[in-house]
Symmetry: C2
Subunit: 348 residues, 2 copies
Amino acid sequence: MTALDPGVGVDVEGVLRSRGQRIHAVLMSRIPDGQPDRWLYDLVRDYPARPAKHIRPAICLATAVAFGGEESEVVLPAVAIEMLHNAFLVHDDIADGSLRRRGEPTLHAGAGVGLALNAGDALAVLAQRTIRDALDRYPVAVADRVADEFDTMMARTVEGQAIELGWCRDGIVDLTPEDYLDLIMHKTCWYTTIHPMRVGALVGSRGRTDLAPMIRFGFYLGAAFQIRDDLLNLTGSEAQYGKEILGDLHEGKRTLMLIHLVGAATPDERRLLDRYLAADRSERTDAMVEDVHALMLRHRSIDFAAEFADGIAGSARDAFEVAFASAADNEGSRFIEALIPYMLERTA
Amino acid sequence: MTALDPGVGVDVEGVLRSRGQRIHAVLMSRIPDGQPDRWLYDLVRDYPARPAKHIRPAICLATAVAFGGEESEVVLPAVAIEMLHNAFLVHDDIADGSLRRRGEPTLHAGAGVGLALNAGDALAVLAQRTIRDALDRYPVAVADRVADEFDTMMARTVEGQAIELGWCRDGIVDLTPEDYLDLIMHKTCWYTTIHPMRVGALVGSRGRTDLAPMIRFGFYLGAAFQIRDDLLNLTGSEAQYGKEILGDLHEGKRTLMLIHLVGAATPDERRLLDRYLAADRSERTDAMVEDVHALMLRHRSIDFAAEFADGIAGSARDAFEVAFASAADNEGSRFIEALIPYMLERTA
């Protein structure tokens, strides 16, 4: 396809809203309306009913269109990925001890860990059922590949979650930006960008498109998304962002900003940081969090991460041209291209 | 098939050991030997590496043989169900705050809740991949039905888990034995007996056997198994049983013994029980647990449950004759029949 003016003429948020409504309606219709309700299916509906961007399903729908398919062909895999996203959120919130999600208390904060954990399991079960229903509609060769994509994505995601939790639990502090990129490749990119795009391209092109370059593009696009997410956790407004601002600092999450700060800190500051990161979450006071935040400002760690994300978005533009070389120049491919600047600008 | 002398000539524990070794070897071979190891795949291997009965996969293998198939045809679904069983155990132990499993500390007690929860997710992901690999080997009509069985079983199990956790969280005390049976139908029977048997029969008979009567038989067999499990929690030896003895009382689990006691208690005892069940787990002292245990002995609640299980085993024998009417009289069907008395006699 020819070079486009990135983002010009594409109302990314409008597309996210309209596609989000469609995905949301199908997702909700696939959650059983039966018993047990208040101990299971009401809880299963809780996170999906909160405001969400639906960026993953929108990527899947748009990529299918870019490669010659129709949105309707990938609605079910798009719904499956959104369900799984909600399952991950429920389990992540338990693992991280998070308090707020999408502007309300986390599920386990209201329902207790046991029922929330189980509702997360149920969301994953429903996602599996949804992807299987999708497979029935594809030719066998395409169906087998979609199923493989789904399994691979699930494995990469639990691996990424393990690495992030392991760093925190074992007090791993000396990390490089490359370690961070490897983490978010697993934890975020695979299920947020790479998988939805590959499945969209696979189904849209009836298995004829080369999916390999989508790993590189999806990695850059997803990395820009995740770094922006980490930045919003520091600088955003809770009303828009929906999680506790500075929550990542409370958790001691190894973000790009934290990794930069550890590298830039003076020996005294480093001792303070080491003590901070070795402490339990519950031992970290608001004052300590503010101190670490102040250090990040002093060492320009936040600027570093924002510039890093800018650089990654530049790489994403190049990788887009390769990955979508055989795509049509239509609303699908234009939406995907417009996501590159959007990832850096979004405020929610 | 003709009536058999139940259990005569069948070495149930020997069969469980030999089939267990085979299932264990395949299960372990399907856990990736890669990274991250200590934060993920070592944890994934933890519970499966502990001593286990492998009763679920053994039921699947034996039923396939009973209906004219070979064990090798159902090794993968049998492995998938054992993986899923381990996933459930990891998540249940988190939900219940349990301390011991299979004679060692629970996974979350060692690795922390976040990494353990994620390892449980990974076990479920591997189970899904395993069942999908199995489906590739079956004719499409059989494969579709096996996949449906798997999805249904997963849904029933999370529903059962929700009911059990919901009763505890909301302090539901006035329950009948029928409520309990409905609970364990969902929580235990579907994945322990009904699913392994239906999949074995489906594959073994190439889809020609009527699976409907296996729900009734599997329910009785699984109920005998679960009531025995609850009894072992009160009366067993921790060395054999592997969990904290009286752990269910600490958790306030609504077992048949507890439900009987609530019904049989004097008004004074009932007030004591209500206070006990309304308390948090952490507020229940060993002395309080011993008091409740003593009440169960006084009101013969344990005898009641043991006799109830005997009655259910009688129903299981009748239901077996119906469900296995078209099965061959061979080592597969004889093993399943021998499980009926075994469920009541097992000590581990």
